[in-house]
C-alpha cells in the first residue's frame, strides 16, 4: 500500500488555502495536533473555520494550540462547545475576538458536535438528538416528538482538512492512539476530505500493525509526518 510519509510539517500543510475548514481534535491537551498547528501558523493561511471541541487557550496557557491561530487573526469562525470559558480568569484568545465581533462562533453541545462530525463521516444527512431540548440551543431548530420524547434536528459538519495527533502509524497511515489522546481524532480523521497526521512513535513498516488493533484505517489518512525530537510534545499543565 502507498507510502504516505512526508518529511516535514511545512510540506504537508503547504497547500492549505485561505478559507479552509479544518477539524482540530484534542481534549485538555492529549490528542492535540500541535506540530501541524504550528506549521499552519508559519504557512499563513487565513479566514479559516475551525471545528474543535475548544477554541484553544489564551494567555494563561503557553502551549501551541488553536488559540495561537486565533490570536494571530487567522480564524474567521470556530465551531465548538466553549465560545466562553467556564472561568472568566481563563478567557481564551477566541473569546476576546468573539466578544468584539472580530470572529464568529457556533456553540454546539459536545456530544452533538461529536455526532455531527460522525454524521459527516457516515454520509448521514441529519439526525434527531434529545440534547439541548428546552434550552437556548434548541431555539430555531426543528423539533419532533418520537415515542413521547422530544428531539431536535442537527446537521453534519464537513471539513476540508483534519489535523490528527496519533501515537503510532504505519507507512500507509493506519493509526493507533494512546489513552485519552484518542478523543475526537478517529471521527475527525474519517470526516475530513484530507487528513494529515502527526505521529509520536517511529513510523512502522507495512504489515507490522495488527489489523484488529487499528483505530483509524489508513484509507482515511492522506499524509503522515513523524514528530522529530525537537518537535512539539505534550507537556504537563496542572488544573485544580
Amino acid at each position: 500500500m502507498r507510502n504516505k510519509v512526508y518529511g516535514s510539517f511545512d510540506e504537508v500543510v503547504s497547500d492549505i488555502p485561505d478559507g479552509s475548514t479544518i477539524m482540530i481534535p484534542g481534549f485538555a491537551g492529549p490528542g492535540t495536533p500541535r506540530n501541524l498547528i504550528a506549521a499552519l501558523l508559519r504557512q499563513g493561511a487565513k479566514e479559516l473555520t475551525a471545528i474543535s471541541n475548544h477554541p484553544g487557550a489564551g494567555p494563561f496557557d503557553h502551549r501551541m494550540d488553536l488559540g495561537r491561530l486565533v490570536e494571530a487573526g487567522r480564524v474567521r469562525k470556530v465551531v465548538c462547545s466553549f465560545t466562553a470559558s467556564p472561568h472568566p480568569s481563563q478567557a481564551t484568545a477566541f473569546e476576546k475576538l468573539y466578544n468584539d465581533g472580530a470572529a464568529d462562533g457556533e456553540l454546539v453541545p459536545q456530544g452533538t458536535l461529536a455526532e455531527r462530525i460522525r454524521a459527516a463521516a457516515a454520509g448521514i444527512g441529519a439526525f434527531y438528538t434529545p440534547t439541548g431540548v428546552g434550552t437556548e440551543m434548541a431555539e430555531g431548530k426543528e423539533h419532533r416528538v418520537m415515542n413521547g420524547k422530544e428531539y431536535i434536528l442537527e446537521y453534519p459538519l464537513h471539513a476540508d482538512y483534519a489535523f490528527i495527533r496519533a501515537y503510532r502509524s504505519d507507512t500507509f497511515g493506519n493509526l493507533q492512539y494512546r489513552l485519552s489522546q484518542r478523543n475526537f481524532n478517529p471521527i475527525m480523521a474519517m470526516a475530513a476530505r484530507t487528513t494529515i497526521v502527526e505521529v509520536e512513535q517511529d513510523i512502522l513498516d507495512l504489515g507490522t500493525m495488527d489489523p484488529d488493533q487499528v483505530h483509524t484505517p489508513g484509507i482515511c489518512v492522506d499524509r503522515v509526518v513523524h514528530i522529530p525530537e525537537d518537535g512539539i510534545w505534550e507537556e504537563a499543565v496542572y488544573r485544580d
Binding site: 485538555a28 459536545q110 452533538t112 434550552t135 489513552l179 504537563a236
Partner: protein, 221 residues
C-alpha cells in the same frame, strides 16, 4: 460545635457516599471530578469521562502523571484494572444512549423544579457547554456539586433559574458547602446541614423554600 462549611473535597465526598455499588458515574469539571478521590471501600464505582475514558481512579500526584490521560477537568488520573478507551462519538453514544447511572456536575444555579444552569453566566456573550447538555438528558440521574452561594453571597438554589438552563427538571440531589438537598415533588428537601449551622441560616442564603427533613442530620466532615 464549631461552625464549619464543607471544603470542595468534602462536598465531593458527600455525593460520592450516595453512589451505589456497580454504578457507572460521569464526573464533570470542577468539584465533581474530586469524587474519584473518595475511597469507596467495598463498593465499586466505574468512572466515565466524556473524553472516552471508562474506569479511571484518583487524581495523580504531580510528577507521576501520564500526560496522555486526563479526566473531564483536564486533570491527570489513574486507570483501574478493567479500564477501556473509546472515541468521542462512542463516549457520547454511551451518555446519550442511557448507560450512565449518574452524572455529577457543577452548576451556577439550581431551581426547586430540578432545572439547572451551568453553561452561561450573566452578561457574557457565548457560553461553555462542554458535555453538560448531553449528560443532563442522557444519564439516569443528575447530582449537582456546588457552592451554596455566589462569591457575593447571593443564593444559587432558586425558585426558578435566572440564567439560561442546561436541562429541564433533571436534578435529583445537590450537595453544597452548607448541606445536602433533594429535589422532591413538594420542593427542595434539606436532608443534611453543615456542622454548627441552623436551618434558618441556610434558608436565609437560599431563595427556594427549603423543606426541612424530619430527621435532619448534621454532615460528617
Amino acid at each position: 460545635m464549631q461552625k464549619t462549611k464543607l471544603s470542595r473535597q468534602q462536598i465531593a465526598n458527600r455525593l460520592a457516599q450516595e453512589f451505589q455499588d456497580g454504578w457507572l458515574v460521569n464526573l464533570g469539571i470542577g468539584i465533581p471530578t474530586l469524587c474519584s478521590n473518595y475511597d469507596q471501600g467495598d463498593r465499586e464505582i466505574i468512572y466515565h469521562s466524556e473524553n472516552g475514558v471508562i474506569g479511571y481512579g484518583s487524581i495523580y500526584p504531580r510528577g507521576d502523571e501520564d500526560l496522555q490521560l486526563v479526566n473531564a477537568g483536564g486533570q491527570y488520573v489513574s486507570l483501574v484494572p478493567g479500564a477501556s478507551i473509546v472515541h468521542h462519538a462512542d463516549s457520547f453514544a454511551i451518555i446519550r444512549g442511557g448507560m450512565l447511572d449518574l452524572t455529577v456536575m457543577g452548576a451556577y444555579e439550581v431551581a426547586e423544579n430540578g432545572d439547572f444552569a451551568n453553561w452561561k453566566t450573566e452578561g457574557r456573550k457565548g457560553g461553555g457547554i462542554g458535555g453538560a447538555m448531553d449528560l443532563a438528558v442522557g444519564a439516569k440521574r443528575v447530582f449537582i456539586a456546588m457552592q451554596h452561594t455566589t462569591r457575593d453571597g447571593k443564593p444559587r438554589l432558586l425558585k426558578r433559574c435566572t440564567l439560561p438552563i442546561t436541562a429541564k427538571g433533571v436534578v435529583k440531589l445537590i450537595a453544597t458547602d452548607l448541606g445536602l438537598f433533594e429535589v422532591t415533588e413538594k420542593g427542595l428537601l434539606m436532608r443534611e446541614i453543615a456542622p454548627g449551622h441552623r436551618p434558618e441560616e441556610v434558608q436565609s442564603l437560599t431563595e427556594a423554600n427549603l423543606i426541612i427533613a424530619d430527621d435532619l442530620k448534621e454532615m460528617e466532615v
